[in-house]
Amino acid sequence: MDATRPTLAVWKFASCDGCQLTLLDCEDELLTLAGEVEIAHFLEASDEVAPGPYDVSLVEGSITTPDDAERIRHVREVSGTLITIGACATAGGVQALRNFADVREFASLVYASPEYVATLDTSTPISAHVRVDFELQGCPIDRRQLLEVLSAFLMGRKPNISQHPVCFECKRRGNVCVMVAHGTPCLGPITHAGCGAICPAYGRGCYGCFGPSPNWSDGRPNTRGLVPWLDMTPDETERVLSTFNVAAFREEDHELRQPDTRGTDDDPPE
């Protein structure tokens, strides 16, 4: 093996580990990858850690604690190229629901002694804290896209990662549109491609796990153009947009960003 192989590190912040496990899921290509890079820091695979700096870092998870806000600066310092992987790292993840509520109230419901929990009011993407060289979308990320990004890094070329909506992949795959032909609500037209249109291929609507596509205008999708055609109540619409990429979907639409006032004393009784 070449002693001058680039080193790879994998880092975890607030997340479920699903995205970094995608690396282990690269079964057929894993040995090849291990031959091309030195996997120097990957706790899900080995507790043996080689010292930095690292040529490329894959960062999973969002920033939700004061400690992590510091730790990500260290990761940036020891990383040549920093690639964030997944909805938590690129958009704050499902835990960003706290951004639109009171996190102390959540903590008091979950933990017996919430005073021991040191947490921030918000869950924010890595790019809100340090410079990020590339963001890979998905919840979880797509295995082929991860290999494409790593292959591109190794060759010093631009990765082929399209930002257009899922509809492009759906039509190339030959799926019948579930929205038009079945009346199934689908976020495909406003969602970042990358999954290969898996859900519509199995008759389900897209639920937006790759986050908003920046294809329409000013880096956003036309969410408000789609919503009236989803045949959903406002409550259902808010729920479907409030999952893994809640902060990103709300960020791109002012109307959806309004605070949730239901259930408060201001609400008139039904």
Binding site: E29, T32, L33, G35, E36, L147, E148, L150, S151, A152, L154, M155, R157, N160, S162, Q163, H164, P165, C167, F168, K171, R172, R173, G174, N175, V176, C177, M179, V180, A181, H182, G183, C186, G188, P189, I190, G203, P214, N215, W216, S217, P221, N222, G225, L226, P228, W229
Partner: protein, 377 residues
Amino acid sequence: MAKLMTTGLSALYDALRRAGYTVIGPTVRDGAIVLDELRSADDLPVGWGVTLAPGGYRVRRRDDQAAFGHSAGPQSWKPFLHQPRVKLWEADRVGDGFEVREERPEPPRYAFLGVRPCDLRAIEIQDRVLMGGRHTDSAYAARREGVFIVAVDCTEPGETCFCASMGTGPKSGPGYDLALTELIDDGSPRYVVEVGSEAGSAVLAEVPTEEADEDLQACARAEVAAAAEHMGREMPALGLRDLMAESLDYARWDEVASRCLSCGNCTMVCPTCFCTTVEDTTDLTGEHAERWQLWDSCFDLGFSHLHGGDVRSSPKSRYRQWLTHKLGTWHDQFGSSGCVGCGRCIVWCPVGIDLTEEVAALQAERDQRASGERGAP
């Protein structure tokens, strides 16, 4: 001289199979009448119809045994000829250089059973785009060569159809090997056949037929003529090219851009849209590279990316590009309209944008401007 097939479509299907064709035709799958390989004539959507609307498509049961009692489905014949993904070449590193291989798998010999007149014209247009001129798309040409086309006149246009306005139907134009007219009688439908080529004649010789008498031919003509009167949509026949050229600064483009999602569905389902992008990939080792051609769309933000940025960054500029090319500058580039009136872009737009409505609105805006100018002192 027109003939009448004296047995059902099975005889025709079997004759095509005996002649060595892979038969592609309409069949019910995933809640739609799609085009796919038929394992037998029983796969045809006998007794099925469709209900179409802007942004809406539903299959429905018919109360007869028509096999072609439906209009345009989710996709045209385009994916069989102009494939969504084509590997152009691959290369391996050899010593200090590399070796390029261009392998073209032998394409199937297709028979297309049930090509509607709008789609027949669309194939003719793509032939001109992809095989005319100095640069031929060799992958398309290889798949297109020797395709046997069984056209079927349209006797039941849908709510979003306007082939009569575009002059592409409901009667099949040239380019077919055989053309059928389906006559729905009380029992099994009957098929009047016209021959368009020697290959068509050879296949039909293997199918039981008799001469179609004058009454029957008149009946077939009347069915098709009636269909022309039942188009769900209408496109102004004249002046579209001028309207597209004159309307570039109209307010209507802003209005439609507020509804358009830039999702590209209209271009992907359009039987004439042909744009592609090219992706170069390398594997992890850097020893192997591939170049792929993929369907692309003028609604993709990066489609117009040049040094310095995206030329058509606004959704307005992208919708305008699509419509003005389709209905206007296509004439300058390829000598015809790029629209065949199949209505797929209306049906498969997730938010039901209707190009006939957009054209009507642009016309109204032009008329308003003209009357404003006349009224000015």
